[in-house]
Each structure stands twice: as structure tokens, then as C-alpha cells.
Amino acid sequence: MSSIQLLLQVLQQRKQKLEAGGKKQYHEKLAFQNKLFVRKRLELLFDNGEYDEDGRFANCLDDDLPADGVVTATGRINGQTVCVMANDSTVKAGSWGARTVEKIIRIQETAERIKVPLLYLVDSAGARITDQLEMFPNRRGAGRIFYNQVKLSGMIPQICLLFGPSAAGGAYIPAFCDLVIMVDQNASMYLGSPRMAEKVIGEKVSLEEMGGARMHCTISGCGDVLASNEEEAINLAKQYLSYFPSNYQEKPSITAGKNPKEGLQLEKIIPPNQNIPFNMYHCIDSLIDMGSFFEIKRLFAAELITGLARIDGKVVGIIANQPKVKGGVLFVDSADKGARFITLCDAFNIPLLFLADVPGFMIGTKVEKAGIIRHGAKFIAAMSSATVPKISVIIRKAYGAGLYAMAGPAFEPDCCVALPTAQIAVMGPEAAVNAVYSNKINEIKDQNEKLAFMVEKQKEYQEAIDIYKLAAELIIDDIVSPHELRSFLVSRFEMYETKEMTFSSRKHPVYPV
């Protein structure tokens, strides 16, 4: 064998060894945990399973550290170029050494230069304590990963697929991503493990309670989508990406339009009685292309629905009140959810559709103590500063600051229209009559007389806020019949496609948070 053949053979052998990852026992552990090997994940993720890898020989002089526990790669998903970093939990539990961190930083720099989405496939025990001086405090240490994430936020889509733990500092990778998909039972996020919590603060708790996927997707809001297994998580990430351009300078791709789900008629879905709940999902389904809804944070703050959809093939971000949950009232968490989603869509040129049926923001001691005012301000600030096309549809009611949050007329929506069922007011008729006439109502002793008085005043109030009065005053731009709403939206979104605006000139706002 010639010397060059020998060298090629050595190269081939070393590559194969690297690509096999960690020891056999760790691969067996993966199978036991219902997890896939990192290279299998990448194969499923990329078109034809093909990708270009960088820094594969990182730490190759150490037999125990193939690729230094992370694969960084560039390939295509649905034809769109994307960069990926993926932990290998068969190598020292996916922990971070100096080369691991350097590789992650480099793939971030690559994604920034070529302006493409970056996916983080996380399954890591965190820092290698033995290597801390080389990877923790320095200029190109782990901190730089988070710094870069913050810098890239809004420039390119950043998505986290959480397959295993993301512990302590590592938990900030998902926190700085646009979307976090968590695999039920396996994914977790926490600053301190249950073992640490017991030692340091005396709390005894399971891992699932402390930072499990379900907890984060329903209670903390740190997770956006709960997947039942890894294949599903990977498919969800691909689907999500199909709604996004590669970067903030481009627009989302347009696909062939589809009809909405059959058998849904808006006029039948919406009860005319303002106080009776209905299911807003039916309303959304009647407007969007069938099967096109990608919901974000379905399990969290369900009184507000946020998700991406297509209407006649074009991507829109939908923010809709859900009267079936908590009456559609806005709370601290739903305000955060709305603010976050609006920011996401605005960053990547996705037009916004607001579907309002909102009694207002919640009141009472519980929410005041939780800071409902500053959280509501966050929602209103995000909505105000969004410069993508905004259409606000008052489906049934918009009371108080609920009207403001849902892109009411003062917030420069490109149009604000109402269905004939709509009521817009500072508050609903019952509340208004009680507020304005409370002395008078208390004075009336006879119960029947009292009731008659209230009914009469409520009727007067209803007349005063009649939707045609608001249209006559040019407060709303049109009254649309429910069966024409979809075609109205198609033509309006097309009309506003060329919209360009600068919201304000300054360094940045002082964000309400």
C-alpha cells in the first residue's frame, strides 16, 4: 500500500471512529431512554440526511472525546439552508469543554455571516467542571454563546429542540431562542437540579416537577411546544421553519392556497349573547387554510391563542382571545404570551391578525400583586411597535384596555373592522350601569323596580355603543359579514404587502417588562 493510501485509510478510520460517538454503554443508555443518537437526529432533520460538518476533529487526540461532544453542521431543511449545533450525550453526557464551546460559537458566527436560521439540538449535562478555566469565564467561553444568541435574536430564527437536560447555565440556550420544542419525559430545564435544591435550600422535589417538559410548557412558559417523542419534535421544527424567511431581510415563502376546514360557519360559531363562551379555535379554522395552524404555547395561558397560519397560502401570525378559557380575559401570562408572539412575527416580516373577543384585563388583588399593569403594558408596547401589516377584527367584544391590546383603532392597525355582533366600549353594559348609577340603584328599595331600572339603563347603554354608531364616527373602518371575513382578509393582507414604516427613531425604547 502506498503511503498516500495509508494516510487516506487512517483518515477514513478516524472519521468513522468519531462518527460513532461515545462508548457502547452510553448508546445502550440512549436506547433505554427512548433517545436517538445525535447523528441519527441530524439525519432525520436534514433533507436527504446530508450535512456539512465543521470541527469534527475537535479534541481528537483524546480518545474519549469524539468531536468534543457536539456536532456543528450546515445543511438544508425543506430546501432552506440552516446551521445546527447538536450535543452528543454519549460523550461525557454532552457536557461542554473548551472545544465544545468554541465549536458552538463558530457555528453561531457562521449562521450570522450567511444569514440563515440556527437550530440548537440540546442534550447536555452542562459545563465540564474539570475544564472550567478554559470554558467558563473567558472571552470565548460559554458566556459568549449567550451573548451571540442575544445578538442574533431577531436577525435569524433561532430554534431549540430540547431532547434531554439543559442544566444551570445551559438552560439559557433555550431561553434565548425564538421557539423551544421539548420532548415529554426526557427534556428538562433547571438552574439547580433537585439534588442541589435539596442540599442548598432543603426542597425535596422530582425532576419532572422541578423542570420537566410538561411543567415548562404549561406553567413557566419556558417551553413552547410539547412533543411526545424525538421524531415528532424534529418534524415540528421543520414545520415551524416553513413559516419563516431565512433572516429579517427576507419575507416568508408563499405556498398554494387551500380552502378552510369545511362545515364551519362563523355566524353559527359565535353566540350573540356576550357572556356565553364559544370555542375560538373553530373561528380560526373557518378563516385559515386547512391544516395550516402551527400553534405556539398551546398549553400555556390558554385564554389567548397565538399561532402561525396561512391564509390563501400567505403566512400570518394570529393572536386571538379564547372565550372558552377564563372568559378570554387577559392575565399576566397571556399578556407575556401575546407580547412575545407579536415580537416574533414582527421580527421576521409576518403580518399580524388580531381576533378580539375580550372582556378586558383581569382585575383583583391576585393579579395586581402579580403586576398585571406592567405585563399588560408589555403586550401593548409590543403590539404598538410592530410595523408589519396589522389587521384587527372585533369578533364579539373588546372592552377596556382589551381593545388596546388587540390592536384597536388608536394603535395604527392597517384596518380595524367589526363583525355585526361586535361591541366596543370602556366596559360591558352591566358593569357600566353599575358604575354610573350605583347611588341611584342603591336608593331604589323595590327589587322589581330596581331590576327594571337597570334593564332600561343597560338598553340605553347598548344603543350608545351600537356598532353602527362607531362606524358612523369612523372609529372602525368597516362592518364585515362573517361569511365574507376570509375573503376580506385575503384581499386586505395582499393590499398591505408593500407597507413599510419606521415606528420611531431612537436607540431603543425603555421596555416595560
Partner: protein
Amino acid sequence: MKEVKAIMAGVVLMIPVSQGEQVSVGQEVIILESMKMAIPIESSEKGEVSEIRVAVGDFVNEGDVLMVLK
């Protein structure tokens, strides 16, 4: 023992189940009125209503236990 809690503050408008009754997952067990809206509270568990801790007209705060199932 499973507790049914108030998902938000409000006044108890209706209690459509009674003590000893079997309830299923997703069944409306209490209806609150809050923010002038009817707010159905569904049971997240299956079980028998062993205790009802509130009466129609009571104010309840978010997180208060309304009913106990066994």
C-alpha cells in the same frame, strides 16, 4: 383526594353537580361569574364529589379549593 380549584377570581354562579355524584374528565363542575362572563370550571380528574366547599354567591380567589373529589 383531588381538588378542583378556581382558575380565576369570581363569584360562584352555579354548581351543576352535587355531593356523591360521579364526575368525568372535562365535565363542568362549577360555573363562576367573573368579568361579566360565565367561566366554566372543568374537572381535570375522574371521581366522586366528596365535598363542595363553596356556595352560590360566594367570592372565590384564584387557586381557592372549590370542591374535593375522591
